[in-house]
Symmetry: C2
Subunit: 470 residues, 2 copies
């Protein structure tokens, strides 16, 4: 056995002993200690601060998760919880001396009740597998992210994932009926209700949604499914001003009501950068200051398409938009979505680059983007720069090229500084370890005191994802 450096002053011998005990507990494939394999568990999709864990526990059951945590709690051994490792805030990236608990073997769909529109799944199940199983019975799980093929339901819940359809279906918090989770000391809290309405006492599942694995490990969940829309209809609209963009959102929300499932805005700097670097065809003859990618969920495709086209026609006629195209095939729609969904690939290709996920009231957004851009220009940094986001949710993503660690710090300070008091430093990605020092820009000292006190109360030895969020 190789030698590990133990955290928190525990000596080398005791780490060896703890690893040996875990190995006996979890069986032959239950514990990874091979140095090469450990590399796979060394960081999330930010690729920042990579650090292999001491070992990886791979429990196959809730009871095994409970046993691992009871063991670590007794020993005071810090744990990092891992799902699909697609996080963008460094929350699942190990710190020196941590044991990784990966939910990868606690995967699979346990049951699907089509009448109740509810699916019980294990935490390690990939989001794409949930989509497929729901689709087979003509239902849908509306949460959708670009990382769908790799991210897991446990991670989606722990980070309260958002994505492209929040305007219509809400965040993950709204899509979960029941949760089973294990507390730091190994206590199993099983609230696997399939009921939409259950006001019997405190709704404890809220403790585990969006708390990024710092209060417990989600092991199973009951997901709320929706009827599968007959068709998704996509359109791209070009606009001259942010005011037109906002008006279009208000008009679509009013005239299409709940069939409006996405309203993704792109500033021209993002749009041009995406076309060029992803080598995509230009959808309109000319360039425009703003673009909106619109999707509706059609109940009756002919009627709903006609309704969308009529609204867009009226808007164009009124001069409140410059151009518009409605996708006439799935291929067409995929081409339009590629401009927006290529963002991850685009930013990875730009590396080194800094990426942000903020939210603010719609009314503040135009001035915010202009202010940040002007700040970069004044300092001659942050090129290329792009802004895009889920406008319907007030969620803005930004990216900026960086040349050094110092430049990243300056860019961070500009992006978060401009936000203070009127927005959130994390709309959907979470705080993790990378945004921890900015939490005070969004939360008051009183709020942070209560968060810390809840953490201390539920995880008194501080073994669960220590140093993340708080």
């Amino acid at each position: 056995m190789q030698h590990f450096e133990a955290a928190g002053g525990a000596g080398q011998r005791s780490v060896e002993r703890m690893v040996g005990e875990l190995g006996r507990l979890l069986g032959p494939c239950g514990l990874v200690t091979d140095r090469d394999l450990l590399e796979r568990y060394s960081c999330d999709w930010t690729y920042a601060n990579a650090c292999p864990p001491v070992a990886v526990a791979r429990p196959r059951s809730t009871a095994e998760v409970a046993a691992v945590l009871a063991h670590c709690h007794a020993a005071g051994w810090p744990v990092v919880v891992q799902g699909g490792l697609t996080g963008l805030a460094g929350g699942a990236t190990p710190r020196a001396g941590e044991l990784a608990v990966s939910l990868e073997r606690l995967a699979g769909i346990e049951s699907l009740d089509a009448d109740a529109a509810a699916m019980t799944v294990r935490a390690g199940t990939r989001l794409a597998a949930v989509h497929q199983a729901a689709g087979e019975v003509h239902l849908a799980f509306p949460l959708d992210l670009a990382s769908r093929g790799s991210c897991t339901i446990g991670g989606n819940i722990a980070t309260n994932a958002g994505g492209n359809r929040v305007i219509r279906h809400g965040m993950t918090r709204n899509l979960v009926l029941g949760i089973e989770a294990v507390l730091a000391d190994g206590t199993v809290l099983s609230s696997l209700t399939t009921m939409l309405k259950d006001n019997a006492g405190y709704d404890l599942k809220q403790l585990f949604i969006g708390t990024e694995g710092t209060l417990g490990i989600v092991t199973r969940a009951v997901l709320r499914l929706q009827p599968e829309p007959l068709e998704r209809i996509t359109a791209l609209v070009a606009l001259d001003s942010f005011a037109d963009l906002t008006r279009l959102l208000v008009t679509l929300r009013r005239d299409l009501a709940s069939s409006l499932s996405s309203f993704e805005a792109m500033w021209s700097d993002y749009f041009e950068c995406a076309l060029e670097r992803l080598a995509l065809a230009r959808p309109f003859g000319a360039a425009h200051p703003f673009y909106a990618l619109v999707e509706i969920e059609a109940l009756d495709p002919a009627v709903d398409r006609g309704r969308l086209e009529a609204v867009l026609f009226r808007v164009l006629e009124a001069g409140a938009a410059s151009d518009a195209v409605v996708a006439s095939s799935l291929d067409d729609a995929a081409r339009l979505w590629r401009i927006r969904e290529g963002a991850g690939e685009l930013i990875t290709g730009l590396a080194p680059a800094a990426a942000y996920d903020v939210s603010m009231p719609l009314a503040a957004m135009e001035a915010y983007v202009a202010g940040v851009r002007a700040g970069f220009e004044a300092l001659g940094i942050g090129r290329p720069f792009g802004a895009f986001g889920h406008l319907g949710d007030g969620n803005l993503h930004l990216f900026a090229g960086v040349n050094s660690r110092e430049e990243t710090a300056t860019i961070d300070a500009l992006v978060y500084g401009a936000l203070q008091g009127r927005g959130s430093v994390s709309a959907e990605h979470g705080i993790g370890s990378l945004k921890k020092s900015w939490l005070g820009h969004t939360r008051s000292p009183a709020e942070i005191v209560v968060m810390r006190s809840l953490k201390q109360h539920l995880d008194p030895r501080g073994i669960l994802n220590p140093g993340r969020v708080l």
Copy 2:
């Protein structure tokens, strides 16, 4: 000044002193101590266990709420929190020696941002006032209850109120963007965000939604508004079997998707009792075993009405329903809704009667109602009996006539006993004081331990709504 009996061993002098201090803190109209006036604050809509409070604090601001709680926390003086007093679980009914904190003067709408579809309101604002203000800018706050004219937003949040449109819009939890609340020790937690997406740290507002005032007093909230539907279209369907009722729900959910805003089921015993006791006209020539009251929110009234009629026509043609009527005017719709919304009046008129609010998977509901009814018949109790509810949410309401306190206990035991392990003893009304002893029928010992520990942690002196929920 009259003499009060103090709770928790505090002497009469000290209660007098505390009341005097509160009076100075809150000013002339801020504290009610007049014996006749106190009667108004002595119980909620259950009218059970009425008991006037020692005094009523009527703060006008968050700062005053904080000062009152800091005072009570220091003195260990128990507080009962009161909104519109429309609760149905005894949660706001005082216990001997308690100070009532009424939010009635902390009322009014602070701001309404139509573009952001967000409204900031004080906790004591009545739900009907929120409806009206939203309607004036062609928006809607979709939470709707029969008590809309009396209940307050603070109470709606504290009890995570449900109502008639949960199937479409969710419970109160889904309709609140931000909350300001005061903890037991007077700490103000202000999270009045207007943003749909905000994953910066723990979502502390969840601590105050549905916890029935035991963890803090909600003082203000930001409500999420929706576009106002152009029209609501109502239909009543008569059915032969529970299987047909379930199939109708599944069909409507599939074919009308999110436009379906209500699906209210009525068993024939409820339906006949309502027609007779509320003196309503029979909507169909014959009587039927089951009825469904259906409402859709129309985007395009002509199209959506046609769509609903087409679905009902198909269902009738297939023999899966016996009769159906679609309301052709607002009066028509009101007449149909009266059969269902008259439930409160009906049950009050039956007094003494016991009323229940349970939820369970749809698949268990038919057998559950039949089992409870058979249990009553075997014992010759519980007449009249009626079952109805928000079927789309798995939420079932029951009522049963009672003749004595002992009979109530027997009926309680039957209703909750039959539920054990497969449902919730409170779908939407909460636990309050009346359902406390049944919490263990829905929540596991581990869950209750964690609830108690959260309560103890956030309210160590146990001054906030003590003895409620837990």
